[in-house]
């Protein structure tokens, strides 16, 4: 027993304490995830994004806001400006690096708001049933019936342009699918024997939903959120492109494309570089989501 390695300790079938059991379960999940190369690539890209955003002042060769009209629209690879400059002579690479912060900020906020609202609405609706279910699901239907970007536009128009409002607008349009998923899962979980068993211990609805239903819904929601992240980034970029999200001179990627649009024929890199950044991050989230589904989704495994 004393000779066992950390790996053996983690892979044991006979955990000796609560912490040991948790760590062991986490490690097994990590092993399954690690064997998925594409998912690891996605995770790598996202980790790189986080690092870049954190170290933006160190990495960026120039101040993203300093204009230099004498050197505007410089092409790729020009001296001191690896990805060229935009219409006001700002360094595109630096703007992309700082823009990573905004992208992460949007992603984090939406990922915090939308799935949690969806989880709450969906599980309560599914567990309580009856008229509560009917009312909540009809509200969900109303939100689902609008095209996402149009509804977001309406919210931004009402609340005013800006990143926070864009995030709220996107979250408001993003939660209904999560509510649907959570409800569908709750309906199957609700009638299972282990829920009956805890009911027979006198547990109330609140405890059953939070301690027994949520842990089972969360994994499929996480998968769905990661897969949706690409869409959320694109929606944020779309709002930025339409001038309703981040406001100039903020280096938000969508807004950068919007600015570059005017020069797209003669100076293609101004719009293409932020486009490539959006593409890469969206792809990374999709790859990660696929990998997470293999690890987390209880229906796919075992």
């Amino acid at each position: 027993m004393t000779e066992q390695t950390l790996r053996q300790w983690l892979l044991t079938d006979t955990p000796t304490s609560r912490r040991h059991a948790k760590l062991s379960a986490l490690y097994q999940g990590w092993l399954a995830f690690r064997s998925n190369t594409m998912a690891m690539i996605g995770l790598g890209i996202l980790l790189a994004l986080v690092l870049i955003a954190a170290a933006a002042p160190l990495l960026a060769p120039h101040d993203p806001f300093v204009q230099n009209l004498g050197n505007r629209l410089a092409p790729l690879g020009s001296e001191g400006h690896l990805l060229g400059t935009d219409s006001l002579g700002r360094d595109i690479l630096s703007r992309l690096i700082y823009g990573a912060r905004i992208t992460l900020y949007i992603v984090a906020l939406v990922a915090l708001i939308a799935p949690i609202v969806g989880l709450l609405v969906g599980t309560v609706s599914g567990y309580v049933g009856g008229w509560v279910d009917i009312v909540l699901m009809r509200i969900t239907d109303i939100f689902l019936a609008f095209p996402r970007l149009v509804l977001a536009l309406a919210f931004v128009a009402a609340l005013g342009a800006g990143i926070e409002n864009a995030v709220i607008a996107i979250s408001l349009t993003a939660w209904p699918p999560y509510a649907r998923i959570a409800r569908a899962e709750t309906l199957t979980i609700r009638s299972s024997d282990y829920i009956s068993a805890i009911k027979l211990q006198g547990a109330g609805g609140f405890r059953i939903i939070t301690k027994h239903i949520w842990p089972l819904c969360i994994s499929s929601l996480i998968v769905r959120v990661t897969l949706d992240m690409a869409g959320i980034i694109l929606a944020a970029a779309g709002l930025g492109f339409l001038g309703l999200g981040a406001q100039p001179p903020s280096p938000e990627w969508g807004a950068m494309i919007s600015e570059g649009r005017r020069f797209i024929l003669d100076h293609w890199w101004v719009a293409t570089m932020p486009g490539l950044a959006i593409f890469t991050v969206s792809l990374a989230f999709n790859l990660l989501g696929d990998g997470l589904r293999d690890v987390l989704d209880p229906k796919a495994g075992e």
């Binding site: 006979t14 059991a21 068993a197």
Partner: protein
Amino acid sequence: MTMLHIDNLNVWFGSGRDRVDAVKGASFDVGAGESFGLVGESGSGKSTILRAITGLAPTWSGRIAVDERTIEKTRARAFYKQVQMVFQDPYASLHPRHSVDAVLGETLQLHGFKDIDARVVRLLDDVGLGQKFRFRYPHQLSGGQRQRVAIARALAPEPELLLLDEPTSALDVSVQAEILNLLADLRQEHGLTYLMVSHDLSVVGHMCDRLAVMKDGEIVEIMDVADLRVMKAAHPYSQHLLQASV
């Protein structure tokens, strides 16, 4: 003394045209310390009676009394301290993300016990699992081990009446023997009363003192196990069931 008294119990699902009467006018008594069997084919309503007693089937009429107290439609927590149930499929009755420790700990906490750690240890010993199973998750347990955990959970509130819904039908025969022995031991040690549902007459014959034969939601006959052993059934359906099982 009667531990469980059931009088003219009707259970139904749905309403109007979709109404299905699962149990029709069932009446029987189970004495304290007795082991009573309910047998019948699938769809005969035998499991539904258990679900009505525990409140999992909310639409019922008639009278159910436990320990000579009539059960109301909404059950207090005190009721679940007295009556507990073991489910048929041990693969479905344990939460897949909760460890054995979490399952038993939560149950004990819900019933207001203070010395949870010591009790978890004792429960695991009681069902013959021991400490090395304490922090395992259901997927790390075999079917028989899972059923032992489910039995430990049912024993946690120290109930007097244990409802057993086909507790061994999903298990191998050798494991079935272990679980049936365990249940017999526990009944003796804790002075439990059993109400056991099974489709297997030989299991009921082994475990029970008396049994009721059910068909299409009705109890057709209540007989002693001694009569069952000598194949002496009064009702033609019971005779038919006996013949098919041998």
